[in-house]
């Protein structure tokens, strides 16, 4: 059988990434509870699994590095070494190193940082914890084994004759072992073999226990195997069996073959402890040599990295549903054949059933892409720890709702904005312990991450109990940047806080090396909006700041309101719609001679005539005849003038960019039930457009 281990690499990489994430989490826990054996065991198991996998699949550098780490962890687990700050640091750095080594193995990164210094520290920690005589003893043992191995390899290829006496222990069968199988295996390695079964210990039938082994065997054979290889065959039963192997002088063999040293005639009596230790080596030997991570294989693996691990539970449900659909289809077939009106109720029933099954199928298929958000949260404990120690702060991270599921692509895309917000909180939001003490707050600041479902959305909140946003400084900055003028009415706190989302708007008095990375809040907002989401914030001076990110569960399906403008159908995302109204004559006015506004429950909202935006031939132009759909983005409302509303439906989003090109004010397209194409309106884009001063939003021009 020919195996290409590379086919297992992808699984190994994913598994190793998971294990490393686990390892990190557990190491951080270990820092808090240094003596928790459960934590220590889990940590050991993570390292152990990484070592086993990397050795098996040919990543020798990873296996080698993990070996030292595992030894140290084993000592921790057995209480021979103790957890302290230095050790935690070494372990965390080792975890980083493993991550880097894995990235290299995946072909994502050229060169891993050199492991040798870290390995030296690990070895030093091991040495410090070891009793002084231990390494010495190991070295002696190795020295002992060495010559024996040389000797055997020297004589390995000559055919020699042997006699073997095998008396298996009485419990051999109860161990699931079968001595006869071992003898057959021996036979397959021999030139000649003569076996005689010794039944002399068989008791009388009345006294016989069918599960006990009473038999013994005597074998005479000629083989190229050396003594060790012969005993190797019987290693599983060596402990409880009596095995005597004797080399026989063999007259018929040519002289050359008989030149084996006379001392070889000494009996090899098992059990012999040192055999097994040595036997481990030949087995362990070949694997690391095979399949070195060659770049071609690694890049091939990388090309197919877009895999998704799905619980079998979800797949089983899918299979059930497909089964239902198949039954459903045959029902329909049967009804439609020789259809008469009498069958109409059954047809309606069957179609309704099919609709239910296909909707459920859609939901379940989408669920396949859903992952718990802890995949995005997982990186934060370590980040917060590093930020806290770099900033001289004490920070506790609390996460809730980690099991909340959302689309894999959304999780991947939201991780960076979240990281930025957490950095911000740790760096700017939370105060130093002294400052907190002076303010009468606990010295340990808290950053809380919370995820939950709300309607068809997922909400992620990032909050801290720090100093809150500096209203005055934001106001000053807004004036300085010309976003506001002194003559404007003083904006509400909420409106003012939203200025931090403007490009280049930073109120940090000094840019630190932690958060001053040139990624502003505007980038965060853009990233969230690109996902079809929105971000808002609230802040109380002295008590903290809370960011709230609202995201659609998936980017593939949209809950939309279809409406018609000039005979064409457009889709508005349901999440952005506030209400739809038909204004009375007095409610619509022109201000400043050109901007059309509607007064809705006391609010003045700009009116955007969608037919103008899209260059359509209008059917209705009088707002009091047509409809106004009020949409909201980032707290800003705009009234869209449309001909009529058609209805609410789920639409599958097709990207315009990948199929055509980016079109302003359009977020994508979809195909309607009747086969027509409808465009999905980019509400955030429209609202931004009309409010950014370019209020003559006439794309038609």
């Amino acid at each position: 059988m020919n195996f290409d281990m590379a086919i297992f690499h992808q699984t190994f990489f994913e598994e190793a990434a998971d294990l490393l994430a686990d390892l990190e989490g557990q190491l951080l826990r270990l820092e808090e509870t240094p003596n928790d054996t459960e934590v220590l065991n889990t940590i050991f198991r993570c390292a152990h699994s990484i070592k086993g996998g990397s050795a098996t699949f040919g990543f020798t550098d990873i296996a080698h590095f993990t070996h030292g780490l595992e030894t140290l962890l084993d000592m921790l687990r057995n209480g021979k070494a103790h957890v302290d700050g230095t050790l935690i640091q070494i372990l965390l750095e080792s975890q980083d190193q493993l991550k880097a080594l894995l990235a290299v193995a995946r072909g994502e990164q050229g060169n891993a940082p050199d492991s040798s210094q870290l390995e030296a520290r690990i070895q030093a920690a091991i040495a410090a914890a070891s009793a002084p005589n231990r390494p010495q003893a190991d070295a002696n043992r190795q020295a002992d084994n060495h010559p024996a191995q040389e000797e055997t390899s020297e004589t390995a290829l000559s055919v020699r004759a042997w006699r073997l006496r095998l008396v298996p222990g009485p419990d051999t069968l109860r161990q699931g072992a079968d001595p006869a199988l071992l003898l057959s295996q021996l036979a397959s390695e021999c030139n000649t073999l003569k076996v005689q079964c010794d039944t002399s210990h068989l008791p009388s039938l009345a006294e016989m226990d069918a599960e006990t082994c009473y038999l013994a065997w005597d074998a005479e054979f000629e083989t190229e195997l050396d003594a060790e290889q012969i005993l190797d065959i019987f290693e599983f039963i060596a402990d409880e069996s009596e095995i005597v192997l004797t080399e026989q002088p063999k007259a018929s063999l040519p002289q050359a073959a008989r030149e084996t040293p006379a001392k070889r005639e000494a009996d090899f009596v098992a059990p012999a402890e040192d055999h097994e230790a040595e036997l481990a080596e030949p087995i362990a030997g070949p694997a690391p040599r095979m399949a070195p991570a060659d770049p071609a294989a690694a890049s091939a693996a990388k090309a197919e990295t877009h895999t998704l691990r799905v619980s079998t539970d979800k797949v089983d449900k899918l299979i059930n549903l497909v089964g239902e659909l198949v039954i459903n289809q045959s029902m329909l077939n049967e009804v439609v054949q020789d259809f008469t009106m009498a069958k109409l109720p059954r047809l309606i029933e069957a179609v309704a059933e099919m609709e239910r099954a296909s909707r459920e199928l859609q939901e379940r298929v989408m669920a396949v892409r859903m992952l718990p958000i802890k995949h995005a949260f997982g990186r934060f404990p370590r980040l917060v720890r590093d930020l806290a120690s770099a900033g001289g702060k004490r920070i506790e991270l609390k996460t809730t709702g980690e099991e909340t599921e959302l689309d894999k692509t959304v999780i991947e895309a939201v991780a960076d904005p979240l990281t930025h917000l957490v950095r911000n909180s740790a760096d700017h939001g939370l105060e130093t312990p002294e400052a907190r003490r002076k303010a009468g707050k606990p010295e340990v600041g808290t950053i809380a991450l919370n995820a939950f479902h709300e309607g068809g959305n997922i909400v992620i909140e990032i909050s801290d109990d720090g100093r809150g946003l500096d209203r005055d400084r934001i106001y000053a900055k807004a004036l300085e940047r010309g976003l506001l003028s002194e003559s404007d009415p003083v904006p509400s706190d909420e409106a003012l806080y939203n200025y931090i989302f403007h490009p280049g708007f930073s109120t940090a008095a000094k840019v630190t090396d932690l958060s001053g990375r040139g990624v502003g809040m505007d980038i965060v907002r853009q990233a969230v909006q690109a996902l079809g989401g929105s971000i808002s914030l609230s802040s109380t001076p002295g008590l903290g700041t809370r960011f709230r990110i609202r995201l659609p569960l998936t980017m593939a399906i949209l809950e939309g309101l279809s409406l018609s403008v000039g005979g064409e159908v457009y889709i508005l995302p349901l999440t952005s719609i506030v209400e739809s109204i038909r204004p009375k004559t007095g409610d619509v006015r022109l201000i400043a001679g050109q901007m059309e506004v509607a007064q809705v429950r006391g609010e003045i909202l700009p009116i955007l005539r969608l037919y103008q935006v899209f260059g359509a031939e209008p059917i209705l132009t009088d707002p009091t005849q047509a409809l106004l759909v009020i949409v909201e983005n980032d707290g800003r409302k705009v009234a869209l003038l449309v001909d009529e509303l058609i209805g609410q439906s789920q639409v599958v989003i097709k990207s315009l960019e990948t199929n055509y090109r980016k079109v302003d004010a359009i977020a994508g397209a979809t195909i309607l039930g009747d086969g027509r194409v409808a465009l999905i309106v980019d509400v955030p884009g429209l609202v931004r457009g009309i409010l950014s001063g370019s209020n003559s939003f006439s794309l038609a021009a």
């Binding site: 059988m1 297992f8 598994e15 198991r45 699994s49 072992a177 599983f236 230790a277």
Partner: protein
Amino acid sequence: MTKTALIVDDSSSMRQMVSFTLRNAGFTVIEGSNGQEALDKLKSVPGGKVDLIITDLNMPVMDGLTFIRSARALATQRFTPILMLTTESQEDRKAEGKAAGATGWIVKPFHPEQLLKVIQKVLPS
């Protein structure tokens, strides 16, 4: 008749490799990611027994030794060959495994061919 093997390992890549090897060798394979899960599957396996068990030792929920003891205690699995996977080549692990009821072991890392060779020692082909 095809033989059924039960693979127990918390590492999915290791399970995948062992399963792949055994399926190629004509086995029907059942997988468990820890001792408890494997034990549950073992109790509900069609036909009441498997022909071969290969188990890791270090696993969450229920470790390999406990699993070996529990499996060996089942009436249907009294004589089933049980191989343990171990990276720890220390004698005490093997002895503990044997005491728990294991038939043999294979030391990780191993190549699929080595695995098949070890299986030949405990299971008639």
